[in-house]
């Protein structure tokens, strides 16, 4: 059995260096790799380029890296929940590249599927299209313009799954899957933290989201806070 398990987040991110490009899973604060983010802070890695759908909130998620001025460039689709982010962006300390959410997901997918580019209609006719190749294709019976977008090839992908085994096979729970699976597939090196680490053979081979071949190191995370951004309830019946 190939054993990819390590004991903790610090050991897991051993090779991550300042200046690298890292993809970080999660949507908002849902499904973020809490332990790996803490390890990036503990090791005080700097000048990171982070690819993540969002940038956390001021005191949680990637917001913690922003507090420590560890991020040089943020590639995201929506970054609205974070005052420190706004301050650094407006002051020019932080470089920001906004990418439509579907384009973000698809460029990550392209990396994992070995496709150097994809053509997507998102952003045609908008400022997102500036400087990009535009090409017409007929598809679904309609001829329209598409933008050529490059695959992401991050140095590291840091993802969070629900359960995983020592061979790196991962399963996610609910909407915490979000970008984690796609990012896991495209990291040059992928590190996964899981709520429960099990032995190979425990997970049903029919129902694994991310095959272990994509995962290089795995560990069981600790003290998950799993903070909720918008606690919304229905009226009492």
């Amino acid at each position: 059995m190939i054993n990819k398990s390590v004991s903790n987040a610090i050991e897991a991110i051993g090779e991550v260096k300042s200046g690298m490009t890292i993809a970080v899973g999660g949507f908002g604060l849902c499904g973020i790799p809490e332990n790996l983010i803490a390890a990036l802070i503990a090791k005080n890695l700097k000048e990171l380029t982070c690819i993540s759908n969002n940038a956390g909130v001021d005191d949680f998620g990637l917001g913690l890296l922003l507090q420590g001025k560890q991020i040089k460039k943020m590639i995201a689709s929506y970054v609205g929940e974070n005052a420190e982010f706004e301050r650094q962006m407006l002051s020019g300390e932080l470089e920001v590249e906004l990418v439509p959410q579907g384009t973000l997901a698809t460029r990550l997918m392209a990396g994992g599927y070995g496709l150097p580019v994809v053509y997507t209609p998102a952003g045609v006719g908008t400022e997102v299209a500036e400087g990009k190749e535009v090409r017409k294709f007929k598809f679904h019976g309609v001829e329209k313009d598409y933008l050529m977008e490059y695959a992401f090839e991050p140095d590291f992908a840091l993802v969070k799954a629900w359960k995983g085994d020592r061979m790196g096979n991962l399963i996610y729970r609910g909407t915490a899957q979000n970008f984690n699976h796609t990012m896991a597939m495209c990291g040059k090196v992928t590190i996964a933290e899981v709520e429960e680490l099990v032995e190979p053979g425990v997970l049903d081979p029919n129902f694994i989201h991310t095959p272990g071949v994509y995962v290089h190191r795995i560990f069981q995370g600790e003290n998950y806070e799993k903070r909720i951004e918008q606690r919304t309830f229905r009226p009492k019946d």
Binding site: L98, G102, A105, T106, T126, Q230, R234
Partner: protein, 209 residues
């Protein structure tokens, strides 16, 4: 004249039995409350869920179950979770029958601007550009005029665009308008108590009466 609940209720009538629907943040989210019990509809949340249910009861919220607005939600029998790439894959491949979203401006060509105001903090486009570029049927829910009293139905958008030639229908507090293929806002209906003059006054773009 309708309030935001009225707009949501009116839009709900556009939803047909068997539809898969994506609801944006704001008024569109309210639409879910007015979908007829006589029809079966599946709500997609682009962060990776088909079959979104109502908000949870207090104490039953689950941090792993959220919608695209990061609100806690529940599932229904037949719900499915999936990853973000598949989510936008199904949006691009036109499996979603109807997309309802808010807007700051819509042009008489069907262009939409709803993500960025120059000079203000830019939060990002999220999934809006993908949705408007691919959806086969887009309804915009918005106020007819902005807070400064300026029309949001324009001959051309003044704000940075989210997508071009994509909006099919607009529901405002004043009425329902189809965006015609050759350009122009065709009045489909005026809400109760609304006069044609009111609509003319509040519409800067080409109105087709």
């Amino acid at each position: 004249m309708l309030d935001k609940y009225g707009i949501a209720k009116r839009i709900a009538k556009e939803i047909k039995d068997g539809y898969y629907v994506n609801l944006g943040i704001g008024i569109p989210t309210l639409v879910a409350n007015y979908i007829s019990d006589d029809i079966d509809v599946v709500l997609q949340s682009e962060n990776g869920l088909l079959g979104m249910g109502p908000f949870p009861h207090e104490g039953e919220e689950d941090p792993d179950y959220i919608n695209a607005g990061k609100q806690t939600i529940t599932t229904l029998p037949g719900s499915v979770f999936f990853d973000s790439a598949m989510s936008f894959g199904m949006i691009r491949s036109r499996k979603i029958d109807l997309t309802i979203l808010g807007a700051m401006e819509v042009s008489e060509q069907g262009d939409i601007a709803n993500w960025k105001i120059p000079g203000k903090m830019v939060k990002g486009m999220g999934g809006a550009m993908d949705l408007v570029a691919s959806a086969q049927n887009i309804i915009v829910a918005m106020q007819h005029v902005n807070k400064a009293g300026e029309s949001k139905l324009l001959s051309a958008c003044t704000l940075p665009l989210t997508g071009i030639k994509c909006v099919k229908k607009i529901v405002t507090e004043l009425g329902v308008f189809d965006v015609l293929p050759m350009g122009g806002f065709k009045i489909v209906e005026l809400h109760e108590g609304v006069t044609l003059d009111q609509v003319r006054y509040s519409t800067q773009g080409k109105l087709v009466e």
